[in-house]
Symmetry: C2
Subunit: 201 residues, 2 copies
DNA sequence: ACCTGAACACCGTTCAAGT
DNA sequence: ACCTGAACACCGTTCAAGT
C-alpha cells in the first residue's frame, strides 16, 4: 500500500513534468499557464499542486532529471583513452543528438535559472562538476604526453566548455545544421589550442 | 509645438525603458510587474502604455538601444591594423567594462528572445552582422599574412563569437573576475587557433 | 495631448468539499 | 489519500473621464 502510493506519486510527478516540458518547448516557460500544464497532464489544478509545489518547482524537477546537455556530453570523456577521439566524438554526438526542441528547453531552463537564485546555484554546481571532470580528463591526457603540459587543465576546460556552450547558443539562433557544419573547423581549432604548435600536424 | 511633443515622447519612452531595465536587472523580466515599472518610472499605467505598446515592446526597445554586448565589443575590429592586438583589446574591454548587472540584463533579454519570434529574429540578425564584421576583419588579416590563409573566415568568426558568448555565460555563473582570470589562456588559445602552427611563437 | 485610476480578463495558488 | 473546481490575490492591458 505504502509503496504503491510512492510509485503513484513519482509516476504522476513525472507525467506532470513531461507534460510541462512539452508546453515549455511549444510556448516558452512564462507563456504557458498552469492551466495549460493541467490540460496537458489531464489533471485539475488542485491535483497538479498536490504533486508539484509551484511552477518554478517544475523547472527544478526538469533540471534534476535531465541535467545540462553539456554535462551529459562531456561525461564519457572520463574513461576515454584518447582525449581527442573522445572529445570529437562528444562534438559529433552533440550535433547528431541535439534537436531544436532540446535546445529550446535547455535555453528556457537556463533563462529561468537567472531569475531564481536556488536554480542558479543548481546550474552553477552542475557546470562546476562538468568542468572538473573535463579538467581531469585533460590532466590525464597531459600525463600521456598528448596535450601540451604547459596548459592549466582547469582553464583549458573552461575554454572548451565556453566554446561548446557558445556553439549551442548559435544553434539556437541559426539552427543545428549550421552548427554541424562548423564542427570540422571547431575540431581543428581545439587540436591547435591544446597541442604544442611544434607537435601539431 | 510639434517638435516639443516628439522630444517629450522620446524622453518619456527612454525614461520608461531605463526604469524597466533597472527592474529587470533587480528582479528579472517576468518577476517585474508593469506596476513595478510604473512605480520606477513614476507614471500611471495608462501613461506608461501611452508611450510603450506592451511589456515585450520594452524589451524590444532595450535591444534596439543597446544591441548585444558581443556586437559592441567586436565593432572596433573593423578598422584595426593588427587583428590580434584589436581582438585582445576587445577581450580586455569586455572584462573591464562588463558588470554583473549588464550580464544579467543581457541574459534576461536573450532569454526573452527565445520566447518571442520577432525578438529572436532581431537578435539573429544582430549576431549575423557581428559575425560578418568579424569575418571581414579576419579576411583582411589573412591578406596581410597574419592569420592562416587556409581557414574559412566565416567559420573562424563563428568559433570566436561562440567562445566569447560562452565565456560571458560562464561569467554569469561564476562572476566576472573568474572570467578575467581566464583571458590570458583564451588569448593564447585564439592565437593558436588562427596562426599556422609553424609560425606560432 | 497628456495623464489618471478604475475596470477587464486572466494568472498562479489555495482550500473546502467530495469520493 | 486522491481529486475537484470555485475562490483569492494579483497580473498585463484598456478606456472613460479629467486637465
Amino acid at each position: 500500500m505504502r509503496t504503491r502510493d510512492v510509485n503513484l506519486n513519482r509516476q504522476r510527478r513525472d507525467m506532470i513534468l513531461k507534460a510541462a516540458a512539452e508546453c515549455f518547448v511549444k510556448q516558452g516557460f512564462h507563456a504557458t499557464s498552469m492551466k495549460d500544464v493541467c490540460a496537458a497532464a489531464k489533471l485539475s489544478p488542485g491535483t497538479v499542486y498536490h504533486y508539484v509545489r509551484s511552477k518554478t518547482d517544475i523547472i527544478r524537477g526538469i533540471i534534476e532529471d535531465e541535467q545540462s546537455i553539456t554535462a551529459d556530453l562531456l561525461q564519457p570523456l572520463g574513461e576515454a583513452d584518447d582525449f581527442f577521439v573522445a572529445f570529437y566524438g562528444a562534438l559529433d554526438a552533440m550535433a547528431a543528438m541535439v534537436k531544436a526542441e532540446d535546445l529550446r528547453l535547455a535555453a528556457e531552463i537556463a533563462a529561468e535559472t537567472l531569475r531564481q537564485p536556488d536554480l542558479h546555484a543548481l546550474s552553477r554546481s552542475a557546470t562546476s562538476e562538468a568542468l572538473d571532470g573535463l579538467a581531469a580528463a585533460i590532466a590525464r591526457s597531459q600525463e600521456r604526453g598528448q596535450i601540451d603540459r604547459s596548459l592549466a587543465p582547469q582553464k583549458a576546460a573552461a575554454a572548451l566548455v565556453a566554446l561548446i556552450d557558445g556553439l549551442l547558443w548559435q544553434a539556437t539562433l541559426f539552427g543545428v545544421e549550421r552548427m554541424a557544419a562548423e564542427l570540422p573547423f571547431v575540431k581543428q581549432a581545439v587540436a591547435r589550442m591544446l597541442i604544442e604548435p611544434e607537435k601539431a600536424r
